[in-house]
Symmetry: C2
Subunit: 333 residues, 2 copies
């Protein structure tokens, strides 16, 4: 593949300077006389010279690309984060290598390895839990890592997210305050810290404060998918719950549609609060009330944080928590 015949040498000889000088102007090194700089620049675009980033990467040990592990681009929650990441990345002249992991530990480890082999300058990880193996890959490499939209229970890894306990607590409280005695919590496997540790804790706290006993049968562990949401509704219904806090938008749309399809009036007979406030929440009828996590911002801030880490700048806080809100729509009243 002889993509680009012309190299820094061609430019140098054409401009009658040494390649060092060409390198300098290309890299904006001030130690070049204005006249020669102009001459070089001139040759550069006359020859349509384009620095070879691979060679540059080898010599400088920087690739200006970061690896991004994403469970599934097709999921709006993650693609929103990804968009924030990419925008900030390009703002700082970085590119993103995007790799889908399907939350599969093996794939993740495998992907992280090829990413490190490609000498990415940093890594952003999205996903609900980090396997020990993955964590050890992270720690033995000196490449900075930041988690976007998820938490590290040990707070060892940098991460940006929201206060999940408080968020879930707030949403649960709203549902409780609205008079619902039985509020279902629909979430992922409790073995994941996010669901099992944070969300569940927030849920229990709200229950506690309302003086309502925790009822295990009101907690539903499922897959984060539309189908799963659709399927879980009838089980929720059996418990007599009159409201549900659902941890994912697609899932929530599933729950909502199942309710509607079953002839249940929403929000009159059943209330729903979703969790991600993606575009989806506005597309349903009735529109979904939802926790509002600033997804784009989480991605953006995560990337920004990563740039600092890559730059070895001092970071005061390794974990940044962004604010959240609850956007009231029509599945609550």
């Amino acid at each position: 593949m002889e993509k680009q015949a012309i190299t820094i040498y061609d430019v140098a000889s054409e401009a009658k300077v040494s390649m060092a000088t060409v390198s300098r102007v290309v890299n904006g090194n001030p130690n070049v006389k204005a006249a020669t700089r102009r001459r070089v620049l001139d040759v550069i675009d006359r020859l349509d010279y384009r620095p070879n980033a691979v060679a540059r990467g080898l010599a400088s040990k920087k690739t200006t690309t970061v690896g991004v592990i994403i469970p599934d681009v097709t999921n709006m929650f993650y693609s929103s984060l990804a968009r924030g990441i990419d925008d900030v990345a390009s703002m700082y002249k970085y590119n993103i290598i995007l790799a889908n992991s399907d939350e599969n530990n093996q794939k993740e480890v495998q992907v992280v390895n090829t990413l490190l082999a490609k000498q990415v300058d940093g890594l952003i990880y999205m996903g609900r839990s980090i396997s020990d193996e993955l964590r050890s890959e992270f720690s033995r490499s000196k490449t900075p890592v930041v988690l976007a939209g998820s938490v590290d229970p040990d707070e060892q890894l940098a991460s940006v997210n929201i206060d999940y306990v408080a968020a879930v607590k707030g949403a649960t409280k709203q549902l409780l305050d609205a008079g619902n005695k039985k509020v279902a919590l629909v979430t992922g496997p409790l073995t994941e810290p996010l669901s099992g540790k944070y969300r569940l804790r927030g849920y229990k706290q709200a229950l506690d404060e309302a003086g309502i006993a925790y009822d295990e049968s009101l907690v539903f562990e499922t897959e984060y998918s539309y189908q799963a949401g659709l399927a879980v509704f009838k089980q929720i219904q059996k418990t007599g719950a009159t409201a549900a806090l659902v941890s994912d938008d697609e899932m929530a749309v599933g729950v909502l549609n199942a309710a509607l399809d079953a002839g249940v009036q929403v929000p009159d007979d059943f209330q729903i609060i979703s969790s991600n406030n993606t575009k989806l929440t506005q597309m349903t009828r009735p529109q979904l009330t939802s926790l509002d996590q600033p997804l784009y911002d989480i991605g953006a801030v995560a990337m920004r944080l990563l740039t600092k880490l890559m730059n070895k700048e001092g970071i005061d806080e390794i974990t940044v928590r962004l604010g959240f809100d609850i956007t009231q729509r029509n599945t609550t009243k």
Copy 2:
């Protein structure tokens, strides 16, 4: 960034062979005695050696990464394509550099340039139209390019898509056959070949065959967004149209919701056929009837085609057209 101290030399000396031999075993070259191979392999994982892909790329002139230009990852149409691309890419050991373009010509050119500077082995372009400048960037680089989910009017560039004329014609015909006299076509700017050339042609052909005169006022050019769909409905209503063929799912959800919000019965008083059959179409109530383009497959096949191109294998057809269908749901009857 001294990420990986150990190099092929370390492995070589530790295993008491030359670096060439190490290189051979790493690259699966058969010319290595089984015994030495085992010994080298042993040292490799004892030292936790990981080949530096950048150096490899410089020496071999192959980076095993391809650039992917996407308008917006957050759009399900494109993220579905992207998912297909990534899956096949990883199947062939390639990684993807994903760059959002917002369909902005300037950004596109800029991004393609940095991608080429990074020596990607190939490029996949998604987007509705290719500016002349971009096309010229493509042609003067020897890097193979394939368009995913869009057409090249000149058929110069490799591409994979569906027969848009036939698809739109078929959908329009269905609406016409159902008794609708006035069928609206909601699409993007007619200046884009996809809308102006292909979709419009299909639409007209169906009209023709049905013996109905083409009425320009039934064609709506808008942005491909939920909001735009929401907004365009009342204009459609003014024309007295009783059905619409909408070129994007988010847009279609907008049209549907606007109709619903206006108290219009769907499909009794107004029918809708959407175009991409993404998950979204199943999430609305009523569910959207939609053209079914095999988005994931388009992405997958595009990537597969690109591997062939990168491999300099002979290609018989530079443009591959996949089959399509119309998935009947509840916005038609």
